[in-house]
Amino acid sequence: MNKLDLSGVSAMPSQVWGGIRLVPLVREAPVAGLRLHHEIYRHALGAVDVGPRTRYLSYIPHGFIADWSGDGGQSAAYGTQLAGSAPTGTDCVPIRLHHGLAKRRRQKGVTEKRLRFLPLHLALEGYLALHFGGPSVIWDEWSQAAVRQGMSPRAEAAYAGWQVPGLGQALRIFELHPRQCGVLVYTADALAAAFVVPHPDDYRALHPSLIEDLYGELVHQYAFYGGPVPAFDARIGGERHIRSLADLRAAARAQERSWTENHDALMANRLLNPSYHFERVYRMGEFGLWRFLPSFGRGEPEQHIGEAICDHKGRVAYLKTFRLSEAQIRRGHLLNGLYDHDWQLNRTAQALGIDRGQLVGRIHDAGFSSLLKHGVERAGRR
């Protein structure tokens, strides 16, 4: 599995407000056997409100990973749970209590049930934990701190949805489609986030939560500086051939279809086509919870991280993505480069096509100065 398979989901005409474009995604039929539940957070003690005959799978996206690609690839998803029946509760409650409270303080704490739904947590942890363990081979240049603690503490900044100009209004006036199961958010016509759920009712309940999500710096800048985007009004051409109402209806249908096709090919191409590095976090029945990272290749301007629940055929039932900014892509690229070459500066520099001094400069610029010993830079510059 290396691609996002959004079959069964089709794009409907976009709704534009200022620089924000929202493209509704509609499912022909809801995904059977999976629901995203948000009421699960009603009680702090984790009593999951799932009836005996209700086959909801509930997903609490609290990915918290201590060490990932460090030693032996140990990864754990504390507090992350995908359950077919009522979960016992006890195995996730301690983590959730601790976690939820911490998050609630950070966010504004008004709509507490939704605030505690931290859907991008897993994906972001995945990105933050990229080579979190630090250098696997202790070359001379790496500092003691890097060897002992790895990348810790590792931080990235993001904006909450309500800080993105215009997004709140665009989400408020958005008119949901009857079978809508997802949305693509564009700012200044750059894909900012994708959100797909298995069932229309889930989407209706979770639509406002988009305002509480995290968005990258790039998204915020585009929304802030970007002007209004065009609405792509329908145009019926070739009027000469329209002789009856049926012709007119056919032409109108063609307009609706052409939008869907053009959208998938032109606008969502960069999300759907690249291959991702998928990591399965949890497995439950025929579904699997995955998180994915992009290739971090240079020259690809649009890269997304995210998390997804896929069925056994790889079709996406739940999807949430976060668009990385340029700097974040560069950092990922750098860490991947180091890892691929056993954290050896010279070989990495060679592979990246730069000299050692430039590589050291890049490590500093990326905010990883603490990984390097003092004096390495000078040696590099010499």
Binding site: E175, A231, R235, I242, R243, L245, L248, Q255
Partner: protein
């Protein structure tokens, strides 16, 4: 050369006027679904000033149209504030229009206008005379003195009107008199210490005294019921959980009010009371249709019940209520009628504001019935896909129906602050703003002007006609009112126990109805 120049100026003038009429019908300076209240107010203020400065006589003449109360008050205040810009002839017409409009406005609106005049420090002889005349025509000033106490006091003070006798004492020297001969004034005095007296007061005033005496809400509402106006009764009906509908007769309500009330009910209750509500809506629509009932031939309607028809927290479900009202009115007007809701629903009573607005395909569905008239009631935000309705209408006009067998009109209940107008679907389709579904027939008339095929002279002639009709209708009304007033005064001399405001509010809405029937 000059001819084209003139006609170009005429064209712009006609456009400006229609723009303003649309705004004056729809805009209330309140929050809408798509724009905030301050945007609405800013946009509307600009329009008022622009039209007042450039087309003053038209600005005044708009008072004769079915514009909403907010804009009527605004126009009256602005005309009085800038009276020095008008020549004597204009002043005379303005004076008549203002007096006629004030008589048709609900009293609280008029008091608000007078308050605005005071804030603007407008206090000349003409303004004072206008206010004095309005006060003199009030059926029951004692009732106003109780219900609009501070407002009346402000007006009296501003217009140097001493309000002789008890009224003056009641307003300006409270607590001095040990008893008043007018029962309302006396009830107000007694209500401070006597619980029974509060049930002789108007509802809003009694509410305060009830709270002071700690009267349980349920008991209070039960006993005050005869003193409530119709709207107050409807409003409290839902809070008290009284769903029997015994207190109010729905069939006498104006159509849009009734539609708003129906939409405020939960769907389960609408289902339970289906027969009653449908009958009331039909009766109200028939009354609004008046002599035109059944005269419109084959009619199709595209009605917007998308999410945006929710309106906003302050204008809750207004666009949807207009659509619902229009549905029943068109049903009454048409010979054969087909409705197409954007959601695809078939049951008008169960509509709710939800889903996208695929206006394009609904217009196609409606044209399929090959109607003589197509009426679209929508806020003009066409988004599934955007602009398709406009394209369909354009191609229909240019390719399929160039000889205009079908007359199409778009009625828009929402003022678009950014465009200074209501949003249009297509340039070839006449568009008019709509506030109350009852005005639909008159608005269809106005909408023909927005197509750009009729020029400024026709428009001006139309405005003149409407002005004349408005003034004569008001004059007749006032004559009737004066008679009623005399009778009322005679009656109150014998036993004065009438809840006057209820009468006042209803008489003004009745007047509006009569005005429409005459057209």
């Amino acid at each position: 050369m000059t001819g084209t120049k003139e006609s170009f100026a005429d064209l712009i003038a006609a456009e400006d006027v229609l723009l303003f009429v649309n705004a004056a019908v729809t805009a209330t300076g309140q929050r809408e679904f798509h724009s905030r209240a301050d945007h609405q107010r800013l946009s509307l203020s600009f329009l008022h000033e622009y039209v007042r400065v450039n087309y003053r006589s038209i600005y005044a003449a708009v008072l004769a149209l079915d514009i909403n109360d907010h804009n009527a008050v605004r126009i009256i205040v602005e005309l009085l504030c800038t009276a020095d810009e008008a020549d004597p002839e204009q002043k005379r017409t303005e004076g008549r229009l203002i007096a006629a409009r004030l008589a048709a406005l609900p009293p609280q609106r008029v008091y608000r206008a007078f308050h605005a005049l005071r804030s603007a420090k407008v206090n000349n002889r003409r303004t004072r005379a206008i206010q004095r005349d309005w006060l003199a025509a009030r059926a029951d000033l004692a009732h106003d003195a109780v219900k609009y106490r501070s407002a009346l006091k402000t007006v009296a003070r501003h217009t140097h009107n001493p309000l002789d006798g008890e009224l003056g004492a009641f307003l300006f020297r409270p607590g001095k008199s040990t008893r008043y001969s007018d029962p309302r004034l006396d009830a107000y005095r007694r209500a401070r210490y006597e619980q029974d007296a509060i049930y002789e007061l108007p509802f809003t005033i009694a509410e305060g005294f009830a709270a002071k005496h700690g009267v349980p809400r349920a008991r209070f509402l039960e006993r005050i019921a005869p003193r409530m106006t119709r709207l107050e009764r409807l409003r409290t009906q839902s809070t008290t959980g009284d769903t029997t509908g015994t207190t109010t007769d729905l069939t006498v309500m104006p159509l849009t009010r009734l539609a708003l009330f129906v939409l405020s009910l939960p769907r389960a209750e609408r289902h339970l009371r289906r027969a009653e509500l449908t009958a009331a809506l039909r009766a109200s629509a028939l009354r609004a249709a008046g002599p035109y009932a059944g005269s419109w031939g084959r009619v199709s309607a595209v009605l917007d019940d998308s999410y945006s028809s929710y309106g906003s927290g302050v204008k809750r479900r207004r666009p949807l209520a207009v659509a619902l009202g229009a549905h029943f009115l068109l049903e009454a007007l048409a010979g054969s009628y087909g409705a197409h809701w954007t959601s695809g629903g078939r049951d008008p009573l169960m509509v709710r504001p939800w889903g996208p607005s695929p206006l394009g395909s609904r217009v196609l569905d409606a044209l399929e019935d090959s109607p003589e008239r197509l009426v679209i009631v929508s806020d003009g935000f066409d988004n599934a896909p955007p602009g398709l309705a406009g394209e369909v209408l354009r191609v229909w006009r240019t390719r399929l129906d160039p000889e205009r067998r079908t007359s199409i009109v778009h009625l828009n209940p929402v003022y678009d602050a950014e465009g200074f107008d209501v949003r249009r679907l297509a340039p070839s389709v006449p568009t008019a703003g709509i506030r109350d579904a009852e005005d639909l027939a008159a608005l269809v008339e106005i909408a023909q002007f927005t197509e750009g095929r009729t020029g400024l002279p026709e428009l001006l002639a139309y405005l003149d006609r409407r002005t004349e009709r408005f003034l004569t209708a008001q004059k007749a009304d006032r004559k009737a009112d004066r008679k009623a007033l005399q009778q009322h005064r005679q009656r109150t001399d014998q036993q004065s126990n009438q809840p006057g405001d209820q009468q006042g509010d209803q008489s003004s809405s009745r007047k509006a109805d009569q005005g429409k029937g005459g057209r």
